[in-house]
Amino acid sequence: MYPTSYRYTKEHEWIRVEGSIGTIGITDYAQEALGDVVYVELPKLGAKLRAGASFGTIESVKTVSDLFSPASGEVLEINAALADSPEKVNQDPHGSAWLVKVRLADPKEIDGLMDSASYETYVAETTKEKPD
């Protein structure tokens, strides 16, 4: 379910690192919890993201949720397709519905994030905490 090459945050974002470039998205758990995604507000090209800080918002029919950056860096690219097709986030959250690509300020920041096994455990615990 969760790609082993990605790293994950407690706020349910993922990051895939290739060299000094990080690609950021939200996890399948996050899209499922949000429900039908209808709007994604992303930063401008060149914006500086800070690890753990909000860099945009994602809205479903029912709710608004902040997007938190897994790492610090400068925005190189945003996924423009999401402006007209935000539902892609529900359909392919780990793939074509990536949100932004950043030039990482410090690739070592990634070491503090969860790997896929830890994230799966984290999600299982989060789900269990909800009362039946």
Binding site: L34, G35, V38, Y39, V61, K62, T63, V64, K130, P131
Partner: protein, 369 residues
């Protein structure tokens, strides 16, 4: 993201059925209710194009009977219940002394001496106490919510689906009328009412039959594309239809004149609770009015967001969000009467930025008959 908070939440008789269907649950007015099953957009679309089935058993019922039943109903509500024929229903307001809404409700006249009120879940107990405290008439008042489950089947194919389940002639039930009949062998009050802007029915019956009736209706409607629907779709559907929700468009601070509900406020019927205040406000004119707006870019104005007109704070959004059938983002808000004309440019404050919107006519959506 909304997470159900505590075990103290009340549950309808269909709670386990909803969980089995994989519903996402939400706390609504102290009830643990289905928010969505397959997704708000698909459920919304099903109701507009085909049909949807809603568990609305959280809604409260209050029965009023006795020789003074009509007098009591007339005293506490602003619409004219004397105009009702037996087996006719009426949208109305439960009033405070100040002419504001203690609640909004449906008044069903069962007979000359018997009325069934359908009220909002969160207000049920308060409404009951309020009505009892105003009962200077020869009437009995019963807090009867636990005696009823309620299902709503809504959409252009609702009648055809329900027809497969009942010998009752549904064509004989006109809009805002009801009858007593059997659905799937279960004794029901079948009303041609709803909260979606579509044709449909609301069915009241004993809670012990809830699972059988729910499952049988879903089975009967499967081939027609009937979907189970949650409160998420119920909300987007009612906003498109421009219908008020208590605690949003109406509450103890708003009057029927302000809410655009003058059509349910019948001063000419004689004195009722709040009628003096309402007569004064009608004479003086209202300072604010409920308006509909649509966003002019892709941003979404939501409940509680501030509204600005000509650079000045003008009020707050009462309900707002995506309108799936209109492919727009819409909402309702109170603004000053002089700024309430259709076409007026307004701005909605969204996370510290002002997004342009335009006042439009209500309702946003009207079905083609």
């Amino acid at each position: 993201m909304t997470t159900p908070a505590s075990a103290a939440l009340r549950k309808t008789a269909l709670y386990d059925t909803h969980r089995k269907l994989g519903a996402k649950m939400v706390n609504f007015g102290g009830w643990d209710m289905p928010l969505e099953y397959s997704g708000i957009l698909s459920e919304h679309g099903a109701v507009r194009a085909r049909a949807g089935l809603f568990d609305v058993s959280h809604m409260g019922e209050i029965e009023i009977h006795g020789s003074g039943a009509l007098d009591l109903v007339q005293w506490i509500t602003c619409n004219d219940a004397a105009k009702l024929s037996p087996c006719q229903a009426q949208y109305s307001g439960l009033m405070t002394e100040g002419g504001t809404f203690a609640d909004d409700l449906l008044v069903h006249k069962i007979s000359a001496t018997r009325f069934l009120l359908c009220v909002n879940a969160a207000n049920q107990d308060g409404d009951f106490e309020h009505i009892v405290s105003e009962n200077r008439f020869d009437a009995q008042v019963e807090n009867a919510g636990s005696h009823y489950s309620q299902l709503a089947i809504q959409g252009p194919r609702a009648k055809e689906i329900l027809e497969r389940m009942t010998p009752t002639s549904l064509d004989a039930i006109r809009y805002y009328h009801f009858t007593f009949g059997r659905v799937s062998g279960i004794d029901c009050l079948i009303a041609r009412t709803g909260y979606t802007g579509e044709d449909g029915f609301e069915i009241y019956f004993g809670p012990e039959s809830s699972e059988a009736l729910w499952n049988n209706l879903l089975d009967a409607g499967k081939s027609a594309g009937l979907l189970p629907c949650g409160l998420g779709a119920r909300n987007t559907l009612r906003i498109e239809a421009g219908l008020c929700l208590y605690g949003h468009e109406i509450d103890e601070t708003t009057t029927p004149w302000e809410a655009g509900l003058g059509w349910i406020c019948k001063l000419e019927k004689g004195p009722f609770l709040g009628s003096d205040a309402l007569a004064r406000q009608r004479q003086a004119g209202v300072r604010r009015k409920l308006i509909g707006f649509e966003m002019l870019d892709k941003r979404i104005g939501r409940d509680g967001y501030p509204v600005r007109i000509a650079g000045r704070e003008a009020g707050r959004v009462t309900s707002g969000g995506p309108a799936p059938s209109l492919k727009k983002n819409i909402g309702m808000a109170y603004v000053s009467s002089e700024s309430s004309a259709i076409g007026t440019r307004i701005e909605i404050g969204i996370r510290g930025q002002w997004a342009p919107a335009s006042i439009v006519a209500l309702p946003f959506y009207k079905r083609r008959d």
